[in-house]
């Protein structure tokens, strides 16, 4: 159901998005529902597309057509098969079997023109791909904590704020003890399991506003916001406690540097924390 007034409002506007490894998806008011196009523009003016956009679109879509239920099935090499249902409700196993991994939009009642359903599916596919690409670019795939790139960005921001406003933070570098030997003895799969568990324990141990990252094979880094150096002992205790709760036997060594006391230069802070870590290497924390 097209609305002529909407057509007028959006005329020939075009949005093009490119995602690595995928074809270029082009949306224009010509051939697509204008309300969908406008909703995407509105969302992009406020924030990036993500799974939240998919639910927003399904809600608007259902309201426009008086649908009691709607689900979209997306299939893609990078995220496999994903089903989204109106209102964020769970798809039942019966429904999942019915949808049968066939990409498309499923409406109740089934009264919406196929072209509009296709446009909805394409928009949802784009949102999911962009969200996944954004998340993958910033996170370590094994542990789901921040990766080196986003850690470096977070450290730059924290150091700049510290230099400008005097806000204190402590950089903690964490190195697993004898991890290579464990990997060699028990295999990479077990090593990856330990790293995943360690990453999970790190996420449990940090507070809201802190940053935890995997910056190398068995090297992790944490930015403790609003924390002086001595406050890192609380973090270390929490981390140790969570590792014990997980039954993870891994031991670790830490080195710290605090801004602005030690420096407000990110590179210098990293060098200082690294130097202190290696001074302590061989002294087991737990």
């Amino acid at each position: 159901m097209r609305h002529e007034s909407d057509d007028d409002a959006e005329s020939q506007a075009t949005l093009t998005s490119i995602h690595a490894g995928e074809s270029i998806a082009t949306f224009s008011s010509e051939g697509y529902e204008p309300w969908l196009f406008q909703t995407m523009l509105n969302e992009l003016s406020e924030r990036e597309l993500g799974v939240g956009f998919i639910y927003s679109i399904l809600e608007l879509f259902a309201a426009r057509h008086g649908l009691s239920d709607v689900a979209v099935v997306l299939v893609n090499d990078s995220f496999g098969t994903q089903m989204f249902r109106l209102g964020g409700e769970a798809v039942t196993p019966d429904m999942a079997a019915h949808l049968n991994a066939s990409p498309g939009v499923y409406c109740e009642p089934d009264t919406v023109p196929a072209a509009e359903c296709d446009a909805i599916r394409t928009a949802c596919q784009l949102a999911m791909s962009l969200h996944l690409a954004r998340f993958s670019a910033a996170h370590d795939p094994l542990t789901n904590i921040s990766n080196r790139r986003s850690f470096d960005e977070a450290l730059e921001v924290a150091a700049a704020r510290s230099a400008r406003y005097g806000w204190a933070f402590t950089l903690v570098l964490v190195d697993l003890n004898n991890f290579k030997a464990v990997n060699d003895k028990s295999g990479h799969e077990f090593g990856n399991h330990l790293l995943r568990q360690f990453g999970f324990a790190l996420r449990q141990a940090v507070r809201q506003g802190d940053t935890a990252a995997r910056i190398g094979g068995d090297e992790f880094a944490v930015i403790l916001s609003n924390a002086e150096g001595h406050e890192s002992s609380g973090f270390t205790e929490r981390l140790r406690g969570h590792l014990v709760a997980l039954g993870n036997p891994v031991e670790f060594t830490i080195g710290t540097a605090t801004s602005p006391r030690d420096s407000t230069d990110p590179g210098e802070l990293l060098r200082m924390a690294d130097g202190r870590l290696y001074e302590k290497k061989g002294i087991r924390i737990s």
Partner: protein
């Protein structure tokens, strides 16, 4: 509008192997109550464990339910209900059992005394009623085939309408869980027929 945190939470869950769908049910105060995953997973226990870890980071109070996407085929043959057991606890100090069940993202809780066998079955019926099911049955017997682990429990329910009995059988790691599952087993076809009406 979903927050970035909510979006990333859902994306993390959807990134788990085999996960096809994520359903999130919230309390009226906005806190996440139940997270339901539909997964085509080779190892549902591992999927549930990973999902529980992720959920604990974002919403520590949320219950996590993993539904098997392949179970619909079994349902069609056996009429198995989609009611899922979230937890079953037995308090040895007062002899009360508490059972939490989930169906379609909703949860129900039931409590009953009388130990893990009879109490487990009664608490299961109470949890189903808490979910909104009208059950025209009363508990007749709960029988542990023999003492010890890994032996089945048989539950008998009697219809309030015509004295017809329904039987359920289950075997699991302890008497309480066996009693809960046997009770659900006895009601499987009945609950399936009620789907969508609870």
């Amino acid at each position: 509008m979903m927050s970035r945190t909510e979006e990333d939470f859902e994306l993390e869950l959807r990134s788990l192997p085999g996960v096809l769908n994520v359903g999130i049910t919230k309390h009226t105060n906005g806190d996440v109550n139940v997270v339901t995953l539909v997964a085509n997973s080779k190892d549902p226990l591992a999927t549930r464990s990973a999902a529980t870890q992720i959920a604990s980071l974002y919403y520590p109070e949320a219950a996590v339910v993993v539904e098997d996407a392949n179970r619909a085929l079994v349902d069609s043959r056996q009429g198995e209900a989609r009611v899922a057991l979230i937890r079953a606890d037995y308090d040895t100090s007062d002899g009360f059992c508490e059972v939490q069940l989930s169906v379609d993202g909703r949860t129900g809780i039931g409590r009953a005394g009388s130990g893990p066998l009879i109490g487990g079955a009664e608490a299961t019926l109470a949890a189903l009623r808490d979910l909104g099911y009208e059950l025209p049955y009363s508990l007749m017997t709960v029988t542990n085939v023999t003492n010890g682990r890994d032996w089945p429990v048989i539950v008998t329910l009697r219809s309030l309408a015509n004295d017809a009995d329904r039987f359920g059988i289950a075997r699991s790691e302890d008497d309480l869980v066996s009693a809960v599952k046997a009770t659900l087993d006895s009601l499987n076809r009945f609950l399936s027929n009620l789907e969508g009406h609870a």
